[in-house]
């Protein structure tokens, strides 16, 4: 899971006060402390429970998560993903904006990938520097000319959004390879409804549980064209992977096999899985292992997780790999600044969701400008996910800054720099049961089935739980929040569901037959049975 960069409102420490920041936007409360419209009922319900009530619910939540094994593996330990009890609300209006922005961005990114793995027109036009694409660690020549059956390369995406000081949503980064976390979106909703049903009482929240169905439909429609009833599998690195819970969750809810590389083999350009009733052909592989490990024939030869020959099968059109190989070039952080231009170029539209300002350090002028202000910048490696190697200027030590400077000068292509953005905050329950603002981001998940892009109404809101924490992901103390997209204002009339569903079966159903119960013991008998002992005089 890539890193979320979260910046605490400055106020203590010499280096931090140097940063000129505005107060963060709060998702739930207005600057004067009153709740925002639509948030009043939640604030009221939660304060009604009080700190001790909330601590008790938090205990029930942990018991629930532990019992259900909703965990991620960190190092050797399995632990529940910390889930905050305060939901994060997104109004119908805000959601329409996010949804259209995400869909627009994905269309542009699909067009970009399709172009660079074929004609390369965008590169000839100089829209994105050719050197930037070809030097990306995630650009795989092995995928050149490999055209997916329904044209989709980004079957599943998770585009990370943040909200700036004015409350405007911005794209922080694109995740087009193996975005994870969607299982937590579904589990968070279930968990919250389980341990804190009261907070749902005053809102119409759009359900999230259709995701597995949508994903399966998208994967099936990505199958090779000559297969009528495709076999879909989820390919996992194995139980030791930190996201194994999610892989199993998705396979289970889609009703498909969860396979490891060793369960599959290729023969005559067909991918087969080994089953007790002999080999069975596989048509769509929703793989959750990285490109490099996918096929030892073409990529890393030492991979023991992949399937030798799988890329040839894909090229022969016998199997579809989802997400496609080589997508990482489009979510490379050094390519990110060019996405708005891609949107204008391929769709002729202005970007609905703006980027965060980003400096391309391979440009000498920008590099010089950034190096002068390194202590106010966030410096990120352009190709890494998981946020390894990120340097947060305001909180970095002098040695760290010096090292970042050396690294940038040595290899400018590998780094990007962004000004520190103060993310929005949302009230979050801290240890003693009181609520305090903590920074959040938002990862909406989108599924592309080739004819339309479905954006799951919700998404993963990740929250920086420790106070003063600057950089957080799930492996560094980050938690998540149930994210509610509120339904449109009108409530449909469901008094007559028969017409609504067009079913021929009448509703309400006929009354149920009466219960049959064991015959009662006769009262006389009970009384006489009770009296058959020599009892004390008080009876």
């Amino acid at each position: 899971m890539p890193l979320v960069t979260l910046v605490q409102n400055p106020g203590k420490g010499a280096t931090v006060t140097a940063v000129p920041t505005m107060a963060p936007f709060d998702e739930m409360l207005l600057p004067d402390g009153r709740p925002r419209p639509d948030h009043g009922a939640i604030v009221e319900t939660l304060s009604g429970l009080g700190p001790s009530g909330l601590v008790e619910r938090a205990r029930q939540r942990d018991a629930y998560l532990d019992r259900h094994g909703i965990t991620f593996t960190l190092g050797e330990r399995e632990r529940p993903l910390p889930m905050d009890l305060v939901p994060r609300l997104i109004t119908a209006h805000e959601w329409r904006h996010i949804e259209s922005g995400v869909v627009q961005r994905l269309h542009a990114l699909e067009a970009f990938l399709s172009d660079i793995y074929n004609d390369g027109e965008i590169l000839r036009e100089g829209l994105v520097p050719r050197s930037l694409v070809t030097t990306s660690t995630h650009f795989h020549r092995q995928a050149w000319g490999l055209i997916p059956p329904n044209g989709v390369r980004i079957h599943v995406s998770g585009i990370d959004l943040i909200r700036d000081e004015q409350g405007a949503f911005r794209v922080l980064e694109d995740n087009l390879r193996n975005p994870s976390g969607v299982s937590y979106v579904l589990e968070n909703r279930r968990t919250l409804a389980h341990v804190l049903p009261e907070v749902f009482a005053h809102h119409r929240v759009r359900p999230v549980n259709e995701y597995p169905e949508r994903l399966l439909a998208a994967l099936r429609s990505a199958a090779p064209l000559d297969v009528a009833d495709p076999t879909v599998v989820v390919l996992t690195p194995g139980v030791h992977n930190s996201a194994h819970y999610e892989h199993a969750f998705l396979a289970r809810h889609m009703g498909v096999e969860l396979v490891e590389g060793r369960d599959l083999y290729c023969r005559d350009n067909t991918v087969w899985m080994r089953t007790t009733s002999g080999p069975e052909p596989v048509h769509v592989i929703y793989r959750r292992i990285d490109d490099d490990f996918l096929d030892p024939v073409h990529l890393r030869p030492d991979s023991v997780l992949g399937v030798p020959g799988i890329i040839n099968s894909a090229r022969a059109g016998r199997v579809t790999i989802a997400n496609a190989i080589g997508n990482g070039v489009a979510d490379d952080k050094a390519v990110y600044p060019y996405v708005p231009a891609m949107i204008e170029y391929s769709l002729g539209e202005q970007p609905i969701l703006p980027n965060v300002d980003t400096y391309d350090l391979s440009d000498p002028d920008e590099r010089a400008w950034v190096l002068e202000r390194l202590e106010r910048m966030v410096v990120k490696p352009s190709d890494a996910s998981g946020g390894y190697g990120l340097v947060m200027g305001p909180s970095a030590t002098d040695e760290q800054l010096a090292k970042a400077r050396r690294d940038i000068l040595e290899n400018p292509r590998d780094w990007i720099a962004q000004p520190v953005v103060t993310f929005s905050t949302c009230p979050t329950i801290v240890e003693d049961g009181s609520m305090a603002p903590r920074h959040v981001d938002l990862r909406p998940f989108a599924v592309n089935d080739g004819s339309s892009v479905f954006v799951l109404p919700g998404g993963l809101s990740r929250v920086a739980l420790p106070e003063g924490s600057l950089v957080v992901n799930s492996s560094q103390g980050g938690g998540s929040k149930d994210t509610w997209v509120l339904g449109e204002a009108h409530v449909p009339d469901v008094e007559t569901p028969v017409e609504a569903t067009g079913s021929s079966v009448p509703w309400p159903p006929p009354p149920a037959p009466e219960r049959v119960n064991a015959p009662d013991m006769h009262d006389d008998r009970i009384i006489q049975q009770e009296r058959q002992q020599q009892q004390g005089p008080s009876c």
Partner: protein, 301 residues
């Protein structure tokens, strides 16, 4: 064995099953009301209450629904009532019942009498009750000799299970909540994982067909009928008095479901009603054949 003891085993099986199935159903239904608010609470509550043959007046909120269905010890249609009735039957056969079974049942009873219905998050509390009822079934499965008593218990359990599956399906989750309803019905029957493995789409019609006719899922009506038939054959092997009428009821039900004349497009509603009716007839027949062969003798003064 004594007819009175046999009857207590029969009803122990029935009431434990009723309690367990109702806990599951309430818990899922409650979760659905919270999670998917496309149906007004009053209507959603009424749907569950009607299927459980309970009065619907004054129940307008999920919380009130939990209170009503958890109910009281006096009404065996409610969870507390079913657990209490199961416990009463267990007490009557305490000398032959394993201590573990009684303990597990007793702790379910105590948890309920401590006021689950008033717990702030009913899902959490109901799970505690469910767990104890699962222990009851687990202990029975593990330690109870496969004698006459066991077959009476299984017979009661399977007939009640047919009835409870019928009640789950009678709610018509699929009509009320077209998107999340069918999955909720599966969860209520504990069948979601089993169903997903079949690879069928989660639609109302497919889910109903699965819960009625699936040959492998142990809570489908068809499997319940097969198990009930097996229990009656077990009784015959133990040499109980004439059970041919009872065997005919459960055997015919089983073969109706096993060899159902049904095209893929057909609705299974008729089978649901018929199965529940057959289960009721079988229970009556068991009473007539084993528990109350000669009617009740009435003393006149």
């Amino acid at each position: 064995m004594l007819s009175r003891i046999a009857e207590s085993y029969f009803w122990l099986g029935r009431y434990v099953e009723r309690a367990e199935a109702t806990v599951r159903l309430l818990s899922e239904h409650h979760q659905l009301l919270i999670e998917d608010q496309s149906v007004p609470d009053g209507l959603g509550c009424a749907a569950l209450l009607e299927s459980l043959s309970m009065p619907t007046i004054d129940v307008q909120t999920p919380r009130a629904l939990v209170r009503a269905v958890v109910g009281s010890e006096l009404d065996p249609s409610t969870i507390a009532g079913a657990v209490s009735a199961a416990r009463a039957n267990a007490r009557a056969i305490r000398e032959s019942l394993s201590q573990d079974t009684f303990e597990a049942l007793n702790s379910a009873h105590l948890a309920l009498s401590r006021g689950v219905a008033f717990a702030a998050s009913p899902g959490v509390a109901l799970h505690g009750v469910l767990e104890r009822l699962l222990v009851v079934n687990g202990v029975i499965d593990w330690v109870m000799p496969r004698d006459e008593a066991y077959h009476f218990l299984v017979l009661g359990r399977e007939l009640e299970r047919i009835d409870m599956v019928g009640r789950i399906l009678a709610i018509r989750h699929d009509l009320l909540w077209p998107s999340s309803g069918p999955a909720a019905a599966l969860r209520a029957a504990g069948a979601l994982s089993a169903y997903l493995r079949t690879g069928h789409p989660i639609t109302g019609a497919e889910v109903r067909r699965f819960l009625v006719l699936d040959p492998a899922f142990p809570r489908s009506m068809r499997c319940c009928a097969a198990d009930a038939e097996e229990a009656v054959r077990g009784l015959q092997r133990q040499g109980v008095s004439d059970s041919s009428l009872l065997l005919r009821e459960v055997g015919m039900l089983r073969s109706e479901l096993e060899y159902a004349r049904l095209s893929p497009a057909d609705d299974v509603s008729a089978f649901i009603d018929e199965s529940r009716e057959a289960a009721r007839r079988a229970a009556d027949e068991a009473t007539r054949s084993f528990f109350r062969q000669h009617g009740t003798i009435v003393w006149s003064h």
